[in-house]
């Protein structure tokens, strides 16, 4: 049994790969920014003095972390239109990814917040800052610094997880690979290319996160 790899036949499909790659990058960037913002706000909600707000935030985190991503995606794409919200596949994909990363990053950021010494809150309080000011100016930046590696990993997981949104026909990288292999029957080659591109993306993301870290956290490590 022998199999001859035939990459040259994929060359005409490079534009499709590129388009898919671009969509994957788009999805990743938007959902990373949106998800981290959502996670930060919910982390603040989880330490709020308001019981309702705390409960709502915990429920959100538990529901999302204990259900499969693809079910969340289908719920948003097929379920919400039944309630009158019409969403394009791309919009549904982005929303699902933001909500998913939001829940995981809530827990990660909260861990960073919990690790803040009580004295940091007290120092801020005795300087006359409001609770909100203490949170945003004093507690949050070192919390990010503490959990930065975990956040970076989670964002990469979300990037890789974006392949799942091909299931609702968002035309990202995995969708492109699917499309191309169905046209050429070069499934092995198509997925090798897709896998290598994902690998490269993940490596680039790690580099980018490391760069951001160097530029952002100038203080000696905590």
């Amino acid at each position: 049994m022998s199999y001859q790899l035939d990459f040259p036949s994929l060359v005409p499909f490079l534009p499709q790969f590129a388009a898919g790659l671009w969509t994957t990058i788009e999805l990743t960037v938007i959902s990373t920014l949106g998800g981290l913002l959502l996670g930060t706000v919910c982390a603040q909600g989880r330490i709020s003095k308001d019981t309702w707000l705390r409960t709502i935030c915990s429920c959100y985190v538990e529901v999302i972390r204990n259900t499969p991503f693809i079910v969340q995606l289908f719920f948003i794409f097929f379920g919400l239109p039944a309630l009158g919200f019409k969403l394009s596949a791309w919009e549904a994909g982005v929303i699902a990814m933001v909500i998913n990363l939001g829940a995981y990053s809530t827990e990660i950021i909260r861990a960073g917040i919990d690790a803040a010494p009580k004295g940091q809150w007290e120092a801020g309080q005795t300087l006359g800052l409001t609770r909100r000011q203490v949170f945003w100016h004093i507690i949050l930046p070192p919390a990010y610094q503490r959990v930065y590696p975990a956040i970076a990993s989670q964002c990469i997981i979300v990037m890789l997880g974006s392949s799942v949104v091909s299931q609702i026909s968002v035309e990202e990288l995995t969708f492109s690979a699917n499309f191309i292999q169905s046209r050429t029957f070069l499934s092995f080659e198509s997925y090798i290319v897709a896998a290598l591109v994902y690998l490269l993306l993940a490596i680039l993301m790690r580099q980018a996160f490391a760069l951001v870290k160097r530029c952002t956290f100038k203080n000696p490590s905590l």
Partner: protein
């Protein structure tokens, strides 16, 4: 009216009766050292003066403001009462200058240039004008504590609470922090210190408050207290720490 006035303050941690009716008056310009064994309620007493701890009975009035469990009132109070902690509690992600300027910008709403000028003056006062752009993590403990003092002074408080501020320092670094306190006393600042520095309490402090079993056991002028302790408990405490 005294600057700080505590009236029969009771404080419980659950079943643990920590403060058992503390009466204490402190006048503006006084330097008062609170001494006592660990667990006697010294730090709790200090923390009741700026609302970091709530008390269950009695009353605390500082700078004509009642200290209550109310976020807004405590925020107003914090303009009169500064605090320096044993563990410095500097903000690790900000430079020394940013630490000092944070509250002047956010709370007092001073302009950046005004804040910067004030921060530079205060850092010079504590002998750290060259550390404006350094991060706390790169400073010695003594330097960090002096930054913490400068940070409190930026709010121009009327009284500075010092909670064992030299206890976390290496012995050779204690002097530089105490020197700053002496300087503050000379300028007329009211200081209330929980301290184990008996020499400082005797030589610089005006008055000593000896806490025992959640009560003000004995109080008086510093030289008197050290030369002539009245109660057995204070005698044995002084004998133990000397």
């Amino acid at each position: 009216m005294s600057l700080v006035s505590l009236d029969k303050v009771h404080k419980y941690y659950g079943d643990n009766h920590v403060l058992k009716g503390v009466d204490l008056k402190i006048e503006a310009g006084e330097v008062v050292s609170i001494i006592g064994r660990s667990g006697s309620g010294k730090s709790t007493l200090l923390r009741c003066m700026n609302g970091l701890e709530q008390y269950q009975k009695g009353g605390v009035i500082v700078d004509n403001q009642s200290v209550e469990d109310d976020e807004y009132k405590l925020r107003l109070l914090s303009r009169s009462v500064g605090m320096v902690f044993q563990s410095f509690n500097l903000f690790p992600h900000m430079t020394v200058g940013q630490n000092v300027m944070l509250a002047t910008k956010l709370v007092l709403k001073k302009s950046p240039s005004e804040s910067k000028k004030l921060a530079e003056e205060l850092l010079e006062k504590v002998g750290l004008s060259d550390k404006f752009s350094a991060y706390p993590g790169n400073l010695s403990g003594g330097q960090q504590q002096r930054v913490a003092i400068a940070r409190s002074l930026a709010m121009s408080p009327k009284v500075l609470l010092c909670d064992e501020i030299t206890s976390a320092l290496d012995p050779e670094l204690v002097g530089e922090v105490l020197k700053v306190l002496e300087q503050l006393k000379a300028e007329g600042m009211t200081l209330i210190l929980v301290t184990h520095e008996m020499n400082f309490a005797r030589d610089v402090g005006d008055r000593v408050v000896f806490m025992n079993q959640g009560k003000v056991w004995e109080t008086g002028a510093s030289d008197e207290i050290f030369a002539n302790p009245q109660t057995e408990e204070l005698k044995s405490f002084l004998a133990a720490v000397r």
